[in-house]
Symmetry: C2
Subunit: 325 residues, 2 copies
DNA sequence: CTGAAAGCGCTTACAG
DNA sequence: CTGAAAGCGCTTACAG
């Protein structure tokens, strides 16, 4: 910057003003721009951020417990593009069991003085208190642990799609619903109002295909087995192949619904019925919420409307006849 | 920091040294840590980076021309985790046709004073010269435009898998190979040594399913049509459904190979033969190269060995009998 | 080992 | 409109 000032024949203060659109004489403006151009001057954001309160950097931590659903890439893309258009850059971190723990990461972002944080699948963390103390907006995305209830939360409104799926299935004769839940994940069906006249159960399994295989075998032999099973990928797709191997017909013996749609689900041997979510809408809503928060507005929880739909395909069909009694 | 110094009863210089592991008396060390803890002190990386030459920030720009293959999420995850364990944070940017252009983005990262840049699908850009001038290591990943030949390049060694696919197909009687290339992408088959006794052609189409449909129809009516087609997703999967609609049997009339494997390709009605790549190996190799470059070592091009394999499935089969003459 | 002081590259009252 | 100067929060010779 000194070099620019020297070449332009003015002070660094004038350079700064010229480059930031503050009132400068036309002559100086021209010379500063010319000098900056000639020298290939690139401002140092770190220096700027020491004087101003903002770093124009946002943190995004994605907290995958189990399997990352790769369609999320689209939301990231959309979200990041939105924030970049607003002048921000985003630090991305994808947390897994291995690697640095969440607390360390959240603290590191704090050291970077991020202006805000996107927190996918928000779980409690000590570091969150620091964000609150520092008045850095944190937006929970997708899922929010009850212990993080203080965070504003943006998510898809899955209830109508879920209700539509249940209605369709009930019309097909299903009364016994189940959800397969992996590890310590929270069952999703509990998030939605229960439909009258249907029973729900929770089948909890560990990671690994063998766990799922055992569960499916138990389904086969159990007396009052569910006639339809909900699960998230990759469990929902594994279910299709395992059912095939074990001679369980889908949907003849068991209907299967995937909680999230897959790009190629329609091409499957048994096309997989799924709840399709509109990730672009989610990305846009999250971006809007963050921009609001950054400009000091209070932001509340957002349920993105009309952002999920039940797409029935061949993996759901009429409930199998139940053994009498 | 002043507050910490005051509480600990020493100078800020001593605080800095204590926190950075420089020699300090045990007594001061203890008091500084206690004070920092009590005050919830988080160092300001921006301030630090003004004195030191490093920001501990890396840029990653992913340059998707057409369709982002979402499996890349796994590589990002692996790569980011690696860099974070080494103390870095990474700024991610996913470039598309809409949104900020590449040059703006690269320049913004420069303003952030990134210590290095991962450049997926490296295309020429004016901003690259600035990185070179600033001596910031840039690593091209996945693909490198010939005009970016000066950049060290890390990619999968696809040649053995490609050769294996061609060998298998030739053994099945195929002589006429084609690749479907979307928009202005570069044909991939040209990257590899050509096998003797087979012909290759390039079928260039625009974005949009209709373009592909037209191309497939032309294949049906053309006299000397190829018997096997290579394409990248999503074209390879669209090909399966369009072939179905148009009454073209796969692999009876046409074999299809996907240049990249899809997680659920084995579940398809016609399981899709594909070249499966090991993204973890790529992520690790890229991380290693960057760490090397950051520590001042010269890094050359890296072809990650044994990182791609041909997985024949049901979409490839014997070549159809050719009309005599 | 310790601390006063200079300086990293900016921005912003402030006085002219 | 302009520029000298202070200051953002750190680190690092340097002198003690």
């Amino acid at each position: 910057m000194h070099a620019v000032a020297e070449l332009a024949g003015c002070s660094t203060a004038t350079v700064s003003k010229a480059l930031n659109g503050l009132p400068v004489s036309a002559e100086n403006l021209r010379r500063v721009y010319a000098a900056a151009e000639q020298l290939g001057y690139v401002p140092n954001l770190a220096a700027r951020s020491m004087r101003q309160e903002k770093t124009m950097t946002l943190g995004m931590v994605v907290n995958f417990e189990g399997h990352p659903r790769s369609e999320l890439l689209y939301t990231f893309q959309d979200l990041i593009a939105n924030m970049e258009s607003a002048g921000y850059s985003v630090l991305l971190s994808i947390v897994r069991n291995e690697g640095l723990d969440l607390d360390t990461l959240l603290q590191r972002f704090l050291a970077h003085r991020v202006d805000g944080l996107f927190y996918w699948q928000a779980r409690p963390s000590n570091a969150l208190a620091w964000y609150e103390r520092s008045n850095i907006p944190v937006i929970a995305v997708g899922f929010r642990d009850p212990e993080c209830a203080q965070l504003p939360f943006v998510t898809l409104d899955g209830a109508p799609a879920f209700a539509a799926a249940c209605r369709d299935l009930k019309a097909l004769g299903h009364r016994d619903f189940a959800e397969i839940v992996v590890d310590r994940a929270d069952p999703l069906y509990k998030l939605y109002p229960r439909m009258r006249g249907v029973r729900w159960r929770e089948i909890r399994i560990g990671h690994g295909e063998q766990d799922l295989r055992n569960a499916v075998e138990k389904l086969l032999t159990g007396g009052a087995a569910p006639t339809v099973v909900f699960a998230a990928p990759p469990t929902s797709t594994q279910l299709l192949s395992i059912a095939g191997e074990l001679g369980l017909a889908v949907p003849g013996d068991l209907s299967v619904v995937s909680y999230f749609d897959l790009e190629d689900a329609g091409l499957f041997r048994t096309p997989l019925s799924a709840i399709r979510t509109d990730y672009d809408k989610l990305g846009d809503a999250v971006a809007t919420a963050m921009l609001d928060a950054l400009s000091g507005r209070q932001v509340g929880d957002v349920m993105v409307p009309d952002s999920a739909h039940f797409v029935p395909r061949a993996s759901t069909g009429p409930a199998r006849a139940r053994p009498a009694g």
